[in-house]
Amino acid sequence: MATMIQAIRMALHVGESRLGVTDIFGEDVGPPLGGVFTGTQGLETAWNTPLDERGIVGTAIGLALAGQKPVAEIQFCDYAFNTIDLLKIAGNICWSCAGDWNVPLVLMTPVGAGIRGSLYHSHSFDATATRLPGWKIVMPSTPLDAYGLMLSAIADPNPVMYLMPKALLRVKAEAGETIPGEPDDDKLLSSMIDAPLGDRSAWKPRWPELEEMYIPIGKARIARPGSHVTVLTYGRNVLMSLAAAAELAADGIDTEIVDLRSLHPYDWDAITASVRKTNRVLCVNEDTEITNFGEHLIRRITEELFYELHAPPRLLAGGHLPGIGLADSLEMASVPQKDGVKAMIAELARHEP
């Protein structure tokens, strides 16, 4: 079973060999490193850029306008903040000229905490990303979704931001989540597509015969069906919420976990169906809590599904802090953890109207 980063790499291979991807680029994306998380090892079209995120985003826009199919990377989303106006431009070109041009690019960037990354390797980007109209925003929580969402992102004629939950990049797929065409044996897969340590100048990957598999942008996944409380979440917090739900099941609390997968457009039908079923809703994400994407979901749920609710909707998000502190104790106190998710689900489940 592939890890998420292997799944992304395989999707990029399919992209460049079959779906017209012309350029995969960013800081340390090309040889010899192939990405600080190994996501671009062995790819034919991967190349290194100067250390200049504005140049990266600008180049991606220009390549897209010139009929290419770029996949650009910002090494950590923490470094994307100086590109905000270029991200706005990628999102407004099609609209500004009333559809004369479109901008088919993919921008991928690792996000979130969970690796003890301190101030500049722990940021989240979902709140910022969802404030960029004209972009589609996706964020996988499993290797299979990572693969299928990347193929959909590549195929889309619009700018698609692909947020990579960095704490999950080395997590292996669960049984039954095989990427079509990948070998069953982890060690075999690794020997085929992971670059060796040390000198890799003569190394070439042996790609498995992968099949295309698309996860549609805009469709959520019910990661765990349940009847008492709905958790709306994505990325790293999906696994955290699943773990919390598994423990709560012993207490008779049956939690439904909705993995949004797409933040824009988001799957309002799936959200509505789940809230109608459980009547209680918790949004979980790691971004800072003030003007948070979960707040938007709660606002809309409150406006449109008010009479379905048996408890006030809740948000569990990162603290409104200038950064994530390095010490274990500081990081744990800054973003949601399993015990906090568990406690809030339990509180919602027991809430009497």
Partner: protein, 350 residues
């Protein structure tokens, strides 16, 4: 000098030292005049309340028109990509744009082909001509131009080049430095013509208030790219300089930095009144004098053209008054594209 005149040149066309052929001079003059009359019309529309905001390029025609005449116009990587300034009406008219479309954009009419009433005057877009939508923060386009240029770099077989134009003040933005760095990487040079029109102001901030160096073009020297500073008030200087720069980029597939000294005859925009600024060289007046001196056009002919274009544009703006503004529900259109319009070498042309 007569030996340097190609035999194929029509007998009526005679160029002296540093001079352009007579027919080309008249063509450039006519386009400069049309451009100036268009800008005058747009300013009048602003002053009469027919548009919210005017910004444009009166004073840059002696440069913007030759640029439009020299680009390889078309769609896809085999033609030139243009990341233009909002002071480039002359470029568009020289490429064959209908000036009435600029009037439509000024009036933010639904018929405005560049933005359907969404954007300011001078914010052009034309995919069939590789005119990328103009962004108001002009300097950002130096970063975007890197991408179209990369799609045309040596080894791709693309025939076109990328031309990006910004003002002097905007070169303080990091995107200008990005363009210098990215376009000159050894073995990965980009066929990018970087143009800086230097009118010596950023809105109200004078040149010396932000630049400690003499000329912006000097910055290119550190990157090993050819540079030139030219008088943009004379089309007989700007035309051959542009041709030289374009030919270099097209042939060498490497970048070139051209700094063009221009006038700002109506200030930055309507925000400062769009009134005539004293003490600036007027390239149109100057070229009229040249044409008069060389007897290429009579004053009567020039006056007749001026009157005719003024009248035509006034009539056009009356007609455009009856064209609708965009429907409010239209704000939701074109947030996303349903299909890939730009794909492939031809830029999506079928």
């Amino acid at each position: 000098m007569s030996s340097s005149v190609p035999a194929t040149r029509p007998p009526s066309v005679v160029a002296g030292p540093g001079r352009l052929p007579a027919e080309l001079c008249v063509q450039i003059y006519d386009l400069m005049l049309r451009t100036r009359m268009l800008e005058d019309r747009l300013i009048t529309m602003y002053k009469q309340g027919e548009g919210f905001f005017w910004i444009g390029g009166p004073g840059e025609e002696a440069f913007s028109v030759p640029l439009g005449l020299l680009v390889d116009k078309g769609q896809g990587v085999d033609h030139d990509y243009l990341h233009l300034h909002y002071r480039c009406a002359g470029t568009l008219l020289a490429m064959g744009a209908d000036p009435v479309d600029s009037i439509r954009q000024m009036r933010n009419a639904a018929t405005d082909p560049y933005s359907r009433g969404r954007n300011f005057a001078g914010h052009f877009s034309n995919r069939a001509w590789n005119v990328v939508p103009v962004n108001s923060p002009i300097a950002v386009q130096f970063a975007v131009a890197l991408g179209t240029a990369r799609a045309q770099r040596a080894g791709t077989g693309a025939k076109g080049i990328t031309i990006v134009e910004g003002g002097d003040a905007g070169t303080a933005e990091g995107d200008f430095a990005s363009a210098l760095v990215w376009s000159t990487r050894k073995g990965q040079e980009l066929p990018l013509l970087m143009i800086v029109t230097n009118n010596r102001y950023g809105i109200s901030t004078p040149y010396a208030g932000q630049h400690g160096y003499e000329q912006i073009a000097d910055r290119g020297k550190a990157f090993g790219m050819p540079t030139q500073v030219i008088d943009g008030n004379d089309p007989e200087i700007s035309y051959p300089a542009l041709k030289h720069a374009i030919d270099y980029v097209r042939t060498e597939r490497k970048p070139y930095l051209l700094e063009v000294m221009v006038s700002r005859l109506r200030g930055h925009s309507s925000a400062s009144g769009a009134n005539l600024v004293k003490g600036e060289i007027d390239c149109l007046e100057r070229f009229e004098q040249t044409l008069d001196d060389r007897k290429l056009l009579t004053r009567a002919d020039m006056d007749e053209r001026r009157e005719r274009y003024t009248h035509e544009l006034a009539e056009a703006s009356k007609r455009v008054r009856s064209e609708p503004h965009p429907a409010p529900s239209g704000v939701w259109d074109h947030i996303f594209a349903d299909e890939n319009l730009v794909g492939g070498r031809s830029g999506g042309r079928t």
